[in-house]
């Protein structure tokens, strides 16, 4: 990887965030950032790499943006204000050669401000995800469209609309004040986790992108336990990615080969979890990360897992969490106890409820009821790999039923 490629990977998000903060305009900031990298491609090989590539890029991008505004004769007042801010910040006049701008000032990292802007609840969730991937992830519109299975013009329009709304409605570029932070941080974490789960289903590049975002978030909010909790959760899931599929078929956690797990990532995930716990984190991501950590321990402590699902259920009020608790209780106290918990759940349209019941009924030797439950799960399942898994389970039952 060349210095420029590395700078693009490491600095692009920062440079763009800084420019959006400076200009208050996403499109102009994107263009100026591209131009700054183009300038770097031309000059660095000739003149050498500047001491601080990031600052060089920000300074250059700012100047390019101001030049462009001048050319386009955008309100003289605005140009004057930006030019004066730029020279204040970098202690150089705008006519000075880029090389002379070996910036004395370190530009603050404004990626967090950008992330909170992109994940503002006044934008539709789809738009939040797309905008985050576009700006901080650096994905192209085409790549985002492919990941979300929509046509490129549709995605392009979604991005244009979101950027227009940010400007028109004055969605602020900042980390929200304390009284808004818990709710708004939850939205940011949800977007990052959504991107990860999209990727976890197969798009490895998206999962990697989400991990990058989560790492940045944990780094930018070092005192926020949920940021570490989310990173821990994602690392602990990601560590098992090689073991989750065998020949294109899903392998259940119980049947996964732990030798395929990424020990380094598990250790990194546990480090993050420890950090979150040291910060007294008890939020939903921290609890889920603690559960994920127990799931990759052998032997598994099912009683502890059940207790944590209980805690998570109280935090989220989600019947899906309660279903997971039922599975853990079945392991700890026997299938009968798990089944009793399943029966109280209002999840009739959820195939996992039926496949879980089926599995517990099978263990109790109630094969006929188990087959009926597998049948119901098969009616509801959409994913092909999951369908094959369920069909396999059902077929394993059938011979007994024939007798």
């Amino acid at each position: 990887m060349t210095t420029l490629e590395r700078a693009y990977r490491d600095e692009r998000g920062r440079v763009l965030a800084s420019l959006i903060g400076f200009l208050g305009d996403f499109d102009l900031a994107e263009e100026a950032t591209q131009e700054a990298f183009a300038a770097a491609a031309e000059r660095w090989p000739r003149d050498g790499v500047p001491g601080s590539p990031g600052n060089w890029l920000v300074t250059t991008a700012r100047r390019r943006a101001i030049d462009r505004l001048r050319r386009e004769r955008v309100g003289a007042e605005k140009v004057r204000r930006l030019a004066s801010e730029a020279s204040d910040a970098a202690s150089v006049g705008t006519d000075v050669e880029e090389d002379a701008m070996e910036a004395a000032t370190v530009f603050p990292d404004e990626r967090l401000e950008l992330l909170f802007t992109c994940c503002h609840p006044a934008l539709a969730l789809d738009a939040q995800v797309a905008l985050t991937l576009r700006t901080l992830g650096g994905l192209t519109t085409r790549e985002i469209a492919a990941a979300f299975l929509v046509a490129e013009p549709t995605m392009s329009q979604r991005l244009v609309r979101a950027k227009r709304k940010i400007k028109a409605a004055a969605i602020p570029f900042r980390v929200p004040p304390d009284h808004l932070l818990p709710e708004r941080l939850a939205a940011v974490l949800a977007v990052v986790y959504l991107i990860f789960n999209r990727g976890y289903g197969g798009r490895e590049d998206l999962a990697a992108e989400a991990l990058q975002l989560a790492r940045a978030l944990a780094e930018l909010m070092p005192d926020e336990p949920e940021a570490h909790g989310l990173l821990a959760l994602m690392l602990l899931h990601h560590a098992r990615r090689e073991a989750r599929f065998r020949d294109g078929e899903i392998v259940l956690l119980d049947e996964q080969d732990p030798r395929l797990w990424d020990e380094g990532e598990i250790a990194a995930g546990r480090d993050e979890l420890d950090r979150a716990l040291a910060l007294r984190g008890q939020g939903p991501y921290v609890v889920q990360a603690a559960i994920a950590s127990l799931h990759v321990s052998r032997p598994r402590d099912w009683r502890q897992i059940a207790a944590l699902y209980g805690k998570l259920g109280r935090l989220t009020g989600s019947p899906v969490v309660e279903l997971n608790r039922a599975v853990a209780v079945a392991e700890a106290d026997g299938p009968e106890a798990g089944l009793a918990l399943c029966d109280g759940l209002e999840l009739d349209g959820y195939h996992y409820l039926h496949s879980t019941r089926a599995e517990l009924l099978r263990r109790l030797g109630r094969d006929r009821e188990a087959a009926a439950a597998f049948g119901r799960a098969l009616e509801l399942v959409e994913d092909e790999a999951e369908r094959r898994l369920l069909e396999g389970r059902l077929q394993n039952l059938q011979p007994d039923l024939m007798e």
């Binding site: 006044a122 409605a169 969605i171 602020p172 929200p176």
Partner: protein, 118 residues
């Protein structure tokens, strides 16, 4: 940044209706207090007070013919019940003010609409 806040009453109980009388004195007081707070906010320019949506007439023109119908354009419960203008720093500040409008928590909603500058 200037915003228009459009108040959709929804099922919000209005003074003088049986639903209003069912509210406790404390709840009624809270509604009055909220409106007082809004009226005293120096960033707010109040709109005129509107009569009930039932008193509205909706006008359309088709093929040069003026067609009038009785009632508001939207369903009565979604109809506009009032509006005001707000000068706020950004959308977060406008949302905070919108959330204080009683209709927002009584089954109605407040639409926050940025105005064209100039």
């Amino acid at each position: 940044m200037k915003y228009m806040l459009l108040i959709h009453q929804g099922t919000t109980p209005l003074p003088g209706t049986p639903e209003w009388d069912e509210l406790s004195a404390e709840e009624q007081g809270a509604v009055y207090a909220a409106y007082q707070e809004i009226n005293q906010d120096p960033r707010i320019v109040s709109g005129e007070r509107m009569q009930e949506p039932e008193t509205a007439t909706t006008v359309r023109v088709a093929d040069g013919q003026t067609l009038t119908t009785d009632g508001p354009f939207a369903e009565t419960k979604e109809a506009l019940g009032g509006y005001f203008f707000l000068e706020a720093d950004d959308l977060d500040a406008a949302i905070e003010t919108a959330a204080k409008v009683p209709a927002a928590r009584f089954g109605g909603a407040v639409e926050v609409r940025p105005l064209v500058a100039g």
